[in-house]
Amino acid sequence: MQRSKTVEFGVGIFILAGILGLVFLGLRVSGLTPSASSQTFHLEASFSDIGSLKPRARVTMAGVTVGRVESIELDQEWFDARVSMRLDSSLEGELSRDSTAAILTAGLLGEQYIGLTVGGDPEALEDGDSIRDTQSALVLEELIQQFVSSMVKD
């Protein structure tokens, strides 16, 4: 059988386009960053209620995304949720020890994310430290319950 350059070229372009498409799906659509793991540091925080926070949720400061939630597990000793986060390494040593973490909701029905607020302590959080001062997620049912019970008292 004779070789046909056009056929081979066409198939080559086809396979190349497929690989490029996969790279596009990886980088542009699912937002993978090639060098994400090397330039991050690790923080932990315990919440008494995380609402519907999920792994890979955003961690923000002043609305700017600075990291992602890595894992969420139940603390068997205190029975609260331990959330571990990966933050941008440029923040390492910059966040004060009394920074607070709160679980916030984007919009009324949006996804939940963690908002960090810096405190005033001169000592800074290092890799692996945990944030003490946390604020749990707002659960709509609890809010309504409080509202109803305060109505009954009046």
């Binding site: 059988m1 070789r3 046909s4 056929v7 081979e8 066409g10 198939v11 372009i13 086809f14 396979i15 386009a17 497929g18 498409g21 996969l22 596009f24 799906l25 990886g26 542009r28 659509v29 699912s30 937002g31 993978l32 890979r56 955003r58 029905l109 996804e111």
Partner: protein, 267 residues
């Protein structure tokens, strides 16, 4: 009177059994056929045969798959926008378009198009080879038709359908972007950032690729086996071509449900 009734009953049960046996026989033949052809991984001269089939099965299917992908992405964006705007959630358009394409539509629709465009042609081609006794002649001169004819086509199908599926997703998302952002005016930043925060590479893109690999296997297997196993007459060829399209469409849709339940059902 009574004995006639019993005879009829026995005959109909026997007929059912006969058909059941034939189905199981065909499944067994198909499995043996698959096992014997798949081992013929193209190498040496086979690579050139495989390349020719890649060109026919993959490159020439590109046009229909990409055009359908573009239109499906555009329709998804248009329909999604009219529904999401009621909830004030049109920012979630990128997420909706990309997730439904990656998880569901791209693997399934690409496989259905592939069955119609390439599967039927494979069946007809191999069937005509069988009807004109080319396959028997090959065996006579000592060439294994499973290796020479079937294996390159099988491998071309396995490789090209996942590639076509990637193309379908990319073009579909681009179509959704065109309609959503350029035409309907969803903000470009929220379109892409919502998409990126909700699509996980391995859970969504990866599972879509696994689906598409399974569909490639099933569709090519059915197409090639139907061609190899048909009754070598002109009527047999036309029947087998129809069966290829019907069986592979049903298999794709049925397997899609099973795979989806396994991959995403636990959420």
């Amino acid at each position: 009177m009574a004995s006639g009734f019993w005879r009829q009953l026995i005959d109909s049960v026997a007929g059912l059994g006969y058909r059941g046996c034939r189905v199981i026989e065909a499944l067994g033949r198909a499995s043996v056929f698959m096992a014997r052809s798949v081992v013929g991984v193209p190498g040496g001269e086979g690579v050139r045969l495989w390349l020719r089939q890649m060109h026919f099965v993959g490159v020439l299917s590109l046009a229909i798959v990409l055009v359908s992908g573009l239109f499906i992405g555009m329709v998804l964006a248009l329909q999604g926008y009219t529904i999401l705007i009621d909830f004030g959630a049109e920012q979630a358009l990128g997420q909706m378009v990309s997730l439904s394409l990656l998880r569901e539509l791209a693997p399934v629709v690409a496989a259905l198009l592939f069955a119609g465009r390439a599967g039927s042609a494979l069946t007809a081609e191999i069937g005509l080879m069988k009807a004109t006794e080319q396959l028997t002649s090959m065996e006579m001169i000592g060439v294994d038709p499973l290796r020479r004819v079937v294996a390159p086509r099988l491998w071309a199908g396995f490789v090209s359908l996942p590639l076509l599926t990637i193309g379908f997703s990319v073009v579909g998302i681009w179509g959704g972007y065109l309609v959503g952002v350029q035409w309907l005016g969803v903000s470009e930043g929220s379109f892409w950032s919502n998409m990126q925060s909700s699509v996980a590479f391995f859970a969504d893109v990866g599972n879509g690729m696994i689906k598409s690999l399974v569909f490639a296997l099933v569709v090519t297997w059915i197409a090639v086996f139907q061609g190899y196993d048909l009754i070598p007459t002109s009527e047999g060829i036309s029947r087998a071509t129809t069966r290829t399209v019907v069986y592979s469409s049903l298999a794709v849709l049925g397997l899609d449900f099973v795979l989806t339940a396994m991959m995403f059902g636990g959420l």
